[in-house]
């Protein structure tokens, strides 16, 4: 489960051209992010082999496509699981037989995910006798995920599995996705145009537009880039990853340990030691040159000024700060930057007014 996935693919579809030369880790969740029509689903379908572009695709050392050598592994011979946007359950089969469809076609020696495990992971034990037509959108999507998992894929492909669902259904599914992410060491390639899904799920992010990949890298680094049009719900911001440290039961707070310090967040009942991910928006970060006195802000991290970028209003500037191994964005007025005499390389304190715990 180590190594990389390399895709060098090109396809002309009318006036649209997909052309990517990408590498991403063969582990964790990689999100293909971009607006509708940017080619992210086409790329996913090419990885599955459902669509054929020209080029080369190598997954963890196995060549799935190489036109130079005339290699093209058809989709049914690729060890993938695919979750479609609209579930695509077989309407003539009940839930049990939908689930068995892929399982029965997976040689026993290759099975790593068991029947009970899949049912329990997605909470669909009660649905086995039902027909897809009688399921809600959220139930259908959970069955589709279990069906894909029961093929014991070595790479799970997900095409906007939440896009067809309304907000409450989305909230119902997201925890299952996070559980999947936590409990299975299964690389996932996930297509999305929703910033909240990116913030909660992505380890690695590929930003796409008009058939090209604009950037590809770890989520923290990509979100902190000043030159990319990616926003977490209309706002520039970053995602920091850390571990749950001590919990303060009296004040209902939990401490998230980062390599550069720690942040207090509202206690959401996570166990100490668990991996945690927090979102920090640029507008909630201010910069101080000295330890502030008598401030209500208790989350203060030492940081180093790295770079500046334009914000949407000429009065404002985005500052990228290095905070241990991770990055933060802060939004200041240009006047503040001038008064604080901020320059790259300068050591400062980042004061963080609000932190959202994501998982």
């Amino acid at each position: 489960m180590s190594g990389a996935i390399e895709a060098r693919l090109r396809q002309q579809l009318g006036t649209f051209e997909l052309s990517v030369d990408l590498q991403w880790p063969d582990s964790g969740v990689t999100v293909l992010f971009g607006p509708s029509g940017c080619g992210k689903t086409t790329l996913l379908r090419c990885v599955a082999g459902l669509q054929r572009a020209q080029g080369r695709l190598v997954v963890g050392g196995e060549t799935w496509q190489d036109d130079a050598q005339g290699v093209f592994v058809p989709p049914h011979r690729r060890p993938i699981g695919y979750v479609f946007q609209d579930a695509n359950l077989f309407p003539h089969l009940d839930v049990r037989r939908n689930l068995e469809f892929g399982l029965r076609r997976t040689p026993p020696a290759m099975r790593r995910i068991g029947w009970e495990q899949a049912l329990q992971l997605l909470g669909i034990g009660e649905l086995l006798g039902r027909l897809p037509g009688g399921l809600s959108g959220g139930e259908r999507q959970r069955v589709a995920m279990a069906r894909a998992l029961l093929c014991s894929p070595r790479l799970l492909l997900m095409d906007e599995p939440l896009a067809a669902l309304d907000a409450p259904r989305k909230k119902e599914i997201l925890p299952y996705l996070e559980r999947l992410h936590r409990e299975l060491t299964l690389p996932v390639l996930y297509v999305s145009h929703a910033a909240d899904e990116v913030a909660r799920l992505a380890d690695h992010l590929v930003v796409m537009a008009a058939g090209r990949a604009l950037a590809s890298g770890p989520i923290g680094a990509i979100l902190a880039r000043l030159d990319l049009p990616i926003r977490l719900g209309d706002e520039a911001g970053v995602v920091l990853q850390g571990k749950v440290g001590a919990r303060d039961d009296f004040w209902h707070l939990a401490r998230i340990e980062l390599d550069a310090g720690s942040l207090w967040v509202r206690d959401a009942g996570l166990a100490p030691g668990a991996a945690a991910r927090v979102r920090v928006l640029a507008r909630d970060v201010s910069i101080a040159c000295r330890e502030p006195v008598g401030s209500s802000i208790s989350n203060i991290l030492p940081a180093v000024v790295e770079d500046f970028g334009d914000d949407e209003h000429p009065a404002l500037v985005l500052v990228r700060l290095r905070c241990g191994s991770q990055s933060l964005l802060a939004r200041l007025t240009r006047r503040s930057r001038h008064e604080l005499e901020l320059v790259p390389g300068m050591a400062v304190l980042a004061q963080i007014k609000a932190v959202a715990l994501l998982s």
């Binding site: 599955a48 459902l50 058809p74 989709p75 695509n88 309407p91 469809f101 093929c151």
Partner: protein
């Protein structure tokens, strides 16, 4: 009114012809419909048009050309003779061949529509669930196209029972071999034997009603399945 030996033999022949035509057309028409539903070939339209022509052409025209083609001097007639099959006109196999040609659109079109209605979704899903092309056809496409296959089968069966023009052209009117019910009714009427004609005609009316009723009910079941 009791049916005579001749009547029974015509009924048996009609059923035999209809059953064989239906089975063989399902076997041949289904792959053809699958190809038409999936292909992007430029031959799709001409071939679909050719298949649809028996719907529009008078059966006598179709029968006439078949007679010429299969006759002793026709190219197909020469071929069947060279293969040691003899001449097909005025034999049961010849009648079967003509029936199949005549009813081909009645199986191809509903089945093709049913395949097209499935869309790419379930077949893509099956491909990602490790099902190869044949597996997808048998376990996904065929079960999902079941209503279309049933419609096609009922239409072909009923249509073959009722055909007359093409039977007369290619099969003639030979007792025990090519004289089917519809031809026998014509014989009875020609001979002014209205009683037997009526009995057989009523049988066909009743049969057609039952067949169409079955079709209608299958269609309704399909609608409530979804």
């Amino acid at each position: 009114m009791t049916l005579t030996h001749d009547d029974w033999s015509a009924i048996r022949l009609s059923l035999q012809l209809a059953i064989l035509t239906t089975l063989l057309l399902l076997l041949l028409g289904t792959p053809l419909a699958w190809w038409l539903a999936r292909t992007g070939s430029r031959w799709k339209s001409p071939i679909a048009t050719l298949i649809a022509m028996p719907i529009v052409l008078p059966p006598t025209v179709l029968g006439f050309y078949l007679l010429l083609l299969l006759g002793a001097n026709g190219p197909l007639g020469r071929l069947t003779q060279a293969l040691g099959l003899g001449l097909l006109p005025f034999t049961f196999p010849g009648l079967l061949l003509a029936s199949m040609l005549y009813s081909l659109p009645f199986v191809v079109q509903p089945v093709q529509n049913a395949f097209e209605a499935i869309g790419a979704g379930p077949l893509d899903a099956a491909a990602t669930l490790r099902a190869g092309p044949w597996d997808r056809f048998v376990h996904v496409a065929l079960p999902l196209a079941r209503p279309g296959l049933l419609t096609g089968a009922v239409l072909v069966f009923a249509h073959t029972i009722g055909e007359f023009g093409i039977v007369l052209m290619i099969g003639g009117n030979i007792p025990e071999r090519t004289r089917v019910v519809s031809v026998l009714i014509y014989n009875h009427v020609e001979a002014l034997e209205y009683g037997p004609a009526q009995a057989l005609a009523a049988l066909l009316v009743g049969f057609t009603f039952v067949a169409l009723l079955a079709l209608h009910m299958l269609g309704r079941r399909k609608a409530t399945d979804r």
